[in-house]
Amino acid sequence: MTKFGWKTVRKIRVVVSLTFLVMTTALFLDPWHLIPSKFVTYVTSLQIVPVLLKTIMSGGAVAVGGLIFVVAMTLLFGRVYCSTICPFGTLQDILVRVSRKINHRKRFKHYKAPQWLQYPILAVGAVMAVLSGSMIVGDLLDPFSNYGRLIAGFALPVILLVNNVLAGLLGHFGIYLFYDIPVRIHEVGMLFFALLFFATVVYLSMTEGRLFCNSFCPAGAILSLMSRISAVRLVIRGDLCNDCGACDRVCKAQCIDSEARRIDFSACVGCFNCLPACPTNAIEYANRLGREGRPEPVVFDSGRREFFKNVGVPAAALLIAPGVVESGIVVSSSRQPISPPGSISIGRFTSLCTACHLCVVSCPTNVLKPSFLEYGLAGMSQPMMKYEFGYCNYDCTVCGEVCPTGAILKTDVAAKKLTQIGSAKFNKDDCIVVAKKKDCSACSEHCPTKAVLHSPGARSLTRAHFFCRKSTTNSASDAALVKMPVP
């Protein structure tokens, strides 16, 4: 292909990546709940870490289709995912562009991609997920989830403020096109973590380009492993290269060693910047199946091995330890966080949730909030139900519809209504009817199943008996209801 052709391909890549960035961002910036959950599912089904979890644990045609698409794309063309679909990748590209605007001579020097760090992180994450049921690696490092947290935590409140100013101004003139939505700032600890993470990535991308994608990113690791056997790959043709180093200068992933005339395709994020930059058309992007140009194997020297033994293993153990929470189905202790309906159990939920906060922003009653350390360090910032701010609408199944990992399973309304998420405690001494001898019954009024009721014959509630219909089993299908007087 000509130089002009590659410039066009690069432009298409930029357009596609911005389209994905806008679509993904929109999912988290929709406080009006205008985007249908079907669309949310389609967009998120291309995010490799969530869709992999969903395919393995709960399946579904859209998830499987999304996974097949991403895998096929990577096996054919390498890690183009990192420069198109990944919102965090595009965010880094924007930062790289900014750094180049600031310093025109900005150049990221070639180095060997630290895959000795990246692959073990993926391996540790997978082992921990299977053995100890901890999603710590996905939770902390998944690019999609980190991007979601960033938007949900920082951009959404700004959008809400703008919305509320507009709602206030227009409402003054009797126009209710926008409506006021209370702004609720998320857990400060969670925000601090998101900010710390963002600051790190800003620094990394502005000084070292796409270093995050080749050092910590678990999605990058999965794709990198696949791209080692990709069919179409980039190579430098020795007969045409004049050693000018132009390709090296434009490479964000620092995967081109222009002196050795080698490209480490397993670290290449498929941005196609190098192709139009080459003055002699020495870089080829062509089918090399079974030919030369394979990436170098990963080398673990003894020093790194020691490092892992001495630091990595104890660190991993430390992360697992506080993550062991009561894995019972229905929460009985008030000290336990409540996981959303459809998560089956806290244990299952925390082992699958990557804390993208899509359910948090989609919850119409704001009962879902990011936790901080309630699930333990390993479950940091995974969502929990907080009844201080809202409650779970009986007929609502939105969180399960939007969850990209299947940590919250999609349920129909009938099944959701039979899903017990915890048990409420009735403090008789604090009850207005008992303490003040006045009619209130707000609990019974709101209770959609009338699990709280007073005896129908009583003239006044003050003489009423309270009953609590409590499920005797945890399984939703045979939730036999029995009447039990509350002590």
Partner: protein, 303 residues
């Protein structure tokens, strides 16, 4: 006619016309013509048809709504349930009332409530949002405290101040359109209880003295017209209801300018005595309205 005379004459005419309109309005405020009936009870039709007949008996909507008025219609949109569950006012009735308001010359008809469940889901699933929009009315959001402004209830005993929705405060005519149903706390929901959706802080009512607060609020907010929807009537598990099995199809409707009369008749229609419901009893004692149905002019219509 030269230009000067034209301007003079037309100016004079408009001033005279304006003055006529203004005084016409004043007479009404001072007393006006008494209504032909204290209460109209309709049964046997669809919610919209019953309203057509009922409002005709009271002299038509023009009795209550004047040209250029800003009207607020306040149905019960408390719960995220469908119309046949009897938890919210029938959307057919709401849309027919809006049509009558526009025919009477209303400039604007707004519909609002402060729902118990998530407000947008209530607006949508009650069918009321669609009914309002299709009829040209304005569905006003009620789910945020920023819309509610402070008002004082001078005659209130337990409730002396509260925050009421701005669109109601800004209106010329307030039409109360409750649904009749049983209620675990207030025993019965009708006109008086429905106005609890005008305000933001309902918890205060619950924790202070529910019945007294309900009556207190009616000393302050007096609807121009009250229409009680008794088409689907929830007889158990109210006010939200658990299923359609809680509901009987009564196909009835009550219309009155007196909210207490409406509730007294509503209680009887439901199968209770007005005295059984404490807030109706208190409202009668506080002379907010009349409960002596036997002394009132009642028009009964069977369709």
């Amino acid at each position: 006619m030269d230009r000067r005379t034209f301007v003079k004459q037309s100016l004079g005419a408009s001033i005279a016309f304006g003055a006529f309109m203004k005084t016409g309005r004043m007479f009404e405020v001072l007393g006006g013509a008494p209504l032909p009936y204290d209460l109209v009870a309709v049964k046997g039709g669809e919610p919209d048809t019953m309203f057509d007949w009922g409002i005709k008996a009271l002299g038509g909507m023009r009795t209550f709504v004047k040209k250029g008025d800003k009207v607020v219609v306040k149905p019960n949109i408390g719960w995220d349930v469908s119309p046949e569950r009897g938890g919210n006012t029938n959307p057919k009735l709401v849309s027919r009332i809006i049509q009558h308001c526009f025919e009477a010359g209303a400039r604007e008809v707004s519909v609002v409530d402060h729902p118990c469940d998530e407000w947008q889901r209530c607006y949508a699933h009650s069918g009321i949002e669609k009914a309002v929009k299709d009829t040209g009315g304005k569905m006003v959001p009620g789910g945020s405290p920023s819309y509610y402004d402070k008002v004082s209830i001078n005659k209130g005993k337990a409730l002396t101040s509260t925050r009421e929705h701005e669109v109601i405060l800004d209106s010329d005519v307030f039409i109360n359109v409750p649904i009749l149903k049983c209620h675990s706390g207030s025993k019965l929901t009708a006109g008086l209880k429905n106005m609890m959706g005008n305000v933001w802080d309902r918890e205060y009512w619950h924790r202070t003295d529910l019945h007294q607060c309900i009556a207190d609020f009616a000393t302050y907010r007096k609807p121009a017209l009250n229409v009680l929807d008794a088409y689907y009537v929830m007889k158990q598990n109210g006010p939200r209801g658990v299923s359609v099995n809680d509901v009987v199809t009564m196909k009835a409707q009550l219309i009155s300018a007196d909210i207490v009369t409406l509730d007294a008749a509503g209680a009887k229609l439901y199968g209770m005595q007005p005295d059984d419901v404490r807030h109706i009893r208190i409202a009668a004692e506080m002379k907010i309205g009349r409960v002596d149905l036997e002394n009132l002019k009642i028009k009964r219509i069977t369709i």
